[in-house]
Amino acid sequence: MRSNTKQLPGFFDGLWQFFASVKLTVVVLLALALTSIIGTLIPQNQPLEEYYQAFGDFLFRVFAVLDLYNMYNAWWFQLLLALLILNIIVCSIDRLSSLSKIVFVRHPRFSLKRFRKAKPNHSFRAPGDADTLLETYQAVVKRHFRYQRVETVDGATCIYAEKGRWTRLGVYVVHFSIVLLIIGAMIGSLFGFEGFVNIPEGEGTDTIRMRNNPALGMRLPFEIHCDDFHMETWPNGAPKLFRSSLRLVQNGKTIYQKDIVMNDPIRFQGINVFQSSYGELPPDRRAQTGADNDRVPESFDLQLTSADSGMTYTKTARIGDAIDLPEGLGSFTVEEYVPDMQFGGQDLGPALRGRLNPATGEAREVTLPLRFPNFDKMRQGKVVIAVANTPNERFTPPSPTEKRYYTGLQVTRDPGVSVVYLAFIMMIAGCAITFFMSHRQIYVELGAAGQVRVAGIANKNPLGLERHIERLADHLAAATEDG
């Protein structure tokens, strides 16, 4: 029994040391870095069928057990984050108790022995009597350091001075900001939501769908009405501006109204409404009059640019056609026309989908959005395919009744944002303090026969301290010459 009671504190001590160690920090930081890579190799939160098709039965199961399809929310990833937080807290408590003896004292301690051994030091002889020298030097030192005091030791008079004591706390500000960041993120995931909704022009709704689970609907405390959707394009067909005129309606009354564009959302009662995409309504949702100019073109002009030669070739193909690629690069089959292509949560508008059979390598699916002729460059393949008959004119329909758009809105609530932003500010400020400021102590020793010695110690940046001491010694020497 006795040995047990003795061991227990030893055990907790060991545990405490384990969580206070910087070794653990390095291991956890690198583990987070390494495992984060997985989530960039396996696209996250896709429909499970796609994973099954891509990985086959066995790997699909293994990855599912490891939660790799939603890995940043997986228990083991969150455990790593929890370890980091515990590490930071224990380490900070461990060090703050000894640090507080340096930082939170009225009279800082100076060690004559350390100053005498300090590396950056300068000596010179100064004329005049000790008392006036002391007075002059105190005035000079005062200009550089906030705190100073004079002591007489071993027959020598010493001016001790220091500044930047508080900068030792900078690194704790950084570490605390990490804790705050994670608290803010947790508040967001517990009390916030991230949803989206597509609203046709002239209509409204109060129900949105959840981003991470589109099958799930959610009622808002108000209805969102889209009175008008407007878009402009640049001459090259790239979108220039989307704007939705929105109204928030509660109990039949309009309570808020605003035209939103990208980067300028509605923020109302803690709920944010963002312009995120747009699209054309499918024909059955469209007014019947004169909609025929919107039908799918019979054929498409494909521009094929060879990456090696830089040459561009144009070929015409219909849906279902297979064409030979120039320069013997293989073949390409146009498989289907998709009126509203979704890609990575973005609405790319009308697109062609096809299959590329390169001369070497595996066949793959290729997406060719009509509005983004540069899109296929992203693939960085041997050939870049663009649809040449980009229907620019479609964006300015001759009559608004012929075409109807819906606006794609992102609707979010995140009560943790202010905490996260506070953490951001603390992190930047803490890093700036930690990296570029230091706690410096100096002493000026007035010895026998006008022998003056200046030296300093600092908690970091030895090169900076050296220059500082050099400058100070110059100032002191100059001051006595004048006097």
Partner: protein, 281 residues
């Protein structure tokens, strides 16, 4: 002269500056080194001029925006920050051998931007999501950080050079800064880069929050910038452990820079869509 032409010429001025620094180092002469400094200053001035000219050209085209909106423009800005940061180091540490390692990096960034056909130097109009001052702050902060990491990478390579060759009095290595200074320099540069990378990730998060209503979405580009950040955070803590200075820190600084490069160039190969830098390609 258009800005693209000017910047293509500047590419070679960076190369020439690199060669001059190299010659100064190998032949142990001061003159080539001084010429290198002159060329480096000229390159930086021309680089800045090219950026300003491009800014004006975009207004002349009626699509005016700060020239920081696509891969080409960010690479040109990257080269400028490498040049500026290097010149500051040369002034501060009075050593030109670093130039033989830093200037080639500025040259490579410019050459990749100007001379490869896959990167278009056309001035393109901004798609709506890119119309944000946070974006400008984001790109600038990131690239100042990347430039510091790039030079830290160069300095780490110098560290390996030194380590392998011993220090005979007449060897080339004699002119390199001492390994202690190289180690200190790596640390200083990593701290500087870390601060700016932190600022870059934060401004990016604020931008994402203003555009999409979320400050973090684990998209591959975001995640890779976090991976880079974690590696450099690990480096800063490695230094706190006894016996981990020098070679191992230099190694981590090389690994960190590889992560920077992957964040910038490799991520487009991964599945996903980061609207910045891919559409613009």
């Amino acid at each position: 002269m258009t800005s693209s032409q000017l910047l293509s010429i500047i590419t070679f001025v960076y190369a020439a500056a690199g060669f001059a620094y190299l010659a100064g180092w190998i032949f142990k002469k001061d003159l080539p080194g001084k010429i290198g400094t002159g060329l480096a200053v000229a390159a930086v001035v021309g680089n800045l001029g090219g950026i300003l000219l491009r800014w004006r050209e975009s207004y002349a085209l009626g699509i005016g925006h700060a020239p920081l909106s696509n891969l080409y423009e960010s690479l040109v800005f990257f080269a400028l920050t490498i040049g500026l940061l290097y010149l500051y180091l040369e002034y501060r540490y009075h050593n030109r051998t670093i130039g033989a390692f830093a200037m080639p990096l500025a040259f490579l960034a410019m050459a990749y931007a100007s001379l490869t056909p896959i990167i278009s130097d056309r001035i393109q109009p901004l798609v709506p999501v890119l119309k944000s001052n946070w974006l400008i702050a984001h790109v600038m902060a990131c690239f100042i950080g990347y430039a510091a990491f790039a030079i830290a990478f160069g300095v780490s390579i110098m560290y390996f050079f030194r380590g392998s060759g011993g220090a005979q009095p007449d060897s080339l290595l004699q002119r390199l800064p001492s390994d202690k200074i190289l180690d200190e320099l790596t640390h200083q540069l990593v701290m500087f880069g870390f601060l700016w990378l932190t600022a870059g990730i934060i401004t990016g998060a604020v931008w994402a929050n203003s555009a999409w209503g979320r400050y973090w979405g684990w998209d591959p580009k975001e995640t890779w910038s976090l991976i880079t950040w974690l590696i450099y955070a690990a480096l800063l803590h490695f230094r706190l452990m006894r016996g981990w200075r020098g070679k191992r820190i230099a190694m981590l600084s090389v690994v960190g820079f590889m992560a920077v490069l992957f964040t910038y160039f490799g991520v487009n190969l991964l599945p996903g869509l980061h609207s910045y830098g891919s559409f613009g390609g």
